[in-house]
Amino acid sequence: MARIELHEIAHSYHRDPKGPEDYALKRIHNVWEDGGAYALLGPSGCGKTTLLNIISGLVVPTKGKVLYDGKDVSKLPPEKRNIAQVFQFPVLYDTMSVFNNLAFPLRNRGMDEGSIKARVLEVAEILELTPFLNRRAAGLAADGKQKISLGRGLVRSDVAAILFDEPLTVIDPQMKWELRCKLKEIHEQLKLTFIYVTHDQTEALTFADKVAVMFEGEIVQIGSPQDLFENPEHRFVGYFIGSPGMNFLECTLEGNRALIDGASIVLDDETAAKGRGAQGKLELGIRPMYLEVNPERGNSAVKARVKGVEDLGSYRIVTLNVAGKVLKAAVPEGKNVPENVAWLSFPPEWIRLFADGWLIK
């Protein structure tokens, strides 16, 4: 078990990196606490896998240090770091039985057969692989294979952390859910540090206590799922988390009102005060589920044109046009959606202001 510290990490795949555009990872500086369940969430190509490989030692970072419990391991190869990694596609020794697959890391470390057997049986029990122990690993279904990959990490009692690189990509939807629950259960049982890379927000938000959102080689926010949803620190987090993502409107401030092409939206005093102190391009953000769509003009309402309605069963997504900008609103089932012209109201407590993409704090 270990507390993993990333100290001013930057990485480039170029031999001779020049500008920041050559870097796959720009600057990563953070701590993964011992026993935490973390998710690393971001779109393809944002550097998630690179970061994971730096933690496991498969990639040596161009700059910075990796510390395990305060000890610098930056130069150590993966086998010396007591780390386990589960890959996107199940990686098995397919000529071996399930038992031998699980025993392989222990045999390589010269453990005696008696202890190996005890340990493998224990781990197989946790992963529900006991009935398959004598079967050939290649004959199992994809979820069974991923369990074996995980098991090869769990058998090592000294394992510091288990890293998952989009481990559910090849699993059927139903099994995905079961396996994710299993992972959570194992995490609670064994209290190991889990770092889980994914581009699927549902996976990240249901698996992890803390989610790190990555964007263009940087971690833009680390927080609980609720934090990410309610207080996105960067417009990318707002846009990436939630389905559909947060609405953004360019605005200017006048007193405690935000002006958008003639329409004005009332802000609460605190938000407005912070906004007035900020520099750069100002944007107003609001989650679709907090945006209210009314058939009648009420107080401080903004006029919008209804472009379309999608029924998702439990709620409807309404696409609206405000002063040339497209907004989405999530409207509960049963509530009336006007056909042509609608009036929107923006509850002040759910409005967030962003300057140059970053939340104004």
């Binding site: 386990a84 890391p105 050939r136 290649a138 990959s149």
Partner: protein, 291 residues
């Protein structure tokens, strides 16, 4: 499936059928026809049934050639398969070295087969050949593949290994390159030594290409003709008379078409049988069953 109203679809298969008929079926039928007749002169023949088969199966020279053939193919496989894998493992994985080594490696495969025999005749000549002369001046031994059976075999094996190991190496290399990086990473994390990585990752993943390499090398070496024909002509004595050389002697040298045809069919059956057995065995190994 719905049935077509007519049989026009067969017309599409017709060109293939015609080609296969001319390339395989008609020649094979001709051979079968010869094998049951004694051809006395053109247009004059007697039906003899299975007599030629009986005679050929009891021919001690055929038996000798067959054992020689097995020895040859066995040696070829035992040397070329591991050597090819070793070369593939040692080849560079990226950079300009890849294309350079692959092209260099493939050179022997591009040389016409009878030229290869000539190259090695000159190479091993004790008077002017680099190898033959070198052995004589360094070790004081006269290396002569035309006089001593052992020398003939050594030369033949060297030539064969030089000529065909590159094929095994290229196939093995292709197999190695197809292994996803994650397997090596996982093996590293599991603390596997390079020997266990080879045994449990690389070798199983190369199974498909190695099966093909094994079958190709078995069939080709079992049917070898041009190289020994040019190099030794089957000699000294009969020491390098393989099945194909003996067959040509009977069928074309003595113009015994009947026995020759019977011989070819037996030969064909042996190659087919062994290829089938090897293929099945290698497939079973892959599935982890007992052979």
């Amino acid at each position: 499936m719905e049935k077509w109203p007519d049989n026009k679809a067969w017309l599409l298969v017709l060109p293939v059928f015609v080609i296969v008929a001319f390339s395989a079926i008609i020649p094979l039928l001709t051979v079968i026809n010869y094998s049951v007749q004694d051809i006395l002169a053109p247009g004059q023949s007697v039906f003899v049934g299975t007599d030629w088969f009986k005679e050929m199966l009891q021919d001690y020279r055929l038996h000798d050639a067959l054992w020689r053939q097995f020895l040859f193919s066995g040696l070829v496989l035992v040397i070329e398969m591991p050597l090819g894998i070793l070369i593939a493992l040692a080849l560079p994985k990226r950079g300009w070295g890849v294309s350079f080594s692959l092209v260099t490696l493939a050179l022997p495969l591009l040389i016409p087969w009878n030229t290869i025999g000539t190259i090695w005749i000159i190479f091993t000549r004790p008077d002017i050949g680099l190898l033959g002369h070198g052995i004589r001046s360094l070790l004081g031994i006269t290396f002569d593949h035309t006089a001593r059976p052992l020398d003939a075999w050594i030369t033949l094996m060297m030539m064969e290994v030089w000529h065909w190991t590159p094929l095994v190496a290229l196939l093995a290399y292709a197999g190695l390159r197809a292994i996803p990086e994650a397997y090596y990473q996982a093996a590293k994390i599991d603390g596997a030594s390079s020997w266990s990585t080879f045994l449990y990752v690389q070798l199983p993943k190369m199974r498909g290409v190695l099966t093909i390499a094994f079958l190709l090398r078995f069939m080709d070496s079992f049917l070898i003709y041009a190289e020994p024909f040019v190099l030794t002509g089957g000699g000294p004595g009969n020491s390098t008379t393989f099945l194909s050389i003996y067959l040509v002697k009977i069928a074309l040298g003595q113009f015994d078409l009947g026995p020759g045809a019977a011989f070819s069919l037996i030969y064909f059956a042996i190659v087919l049988l062994f290829s089938f057995i090897f293929y099945q065995a290698l497939q079973r190994v892959g599935r982890g069953e007992k052979v």
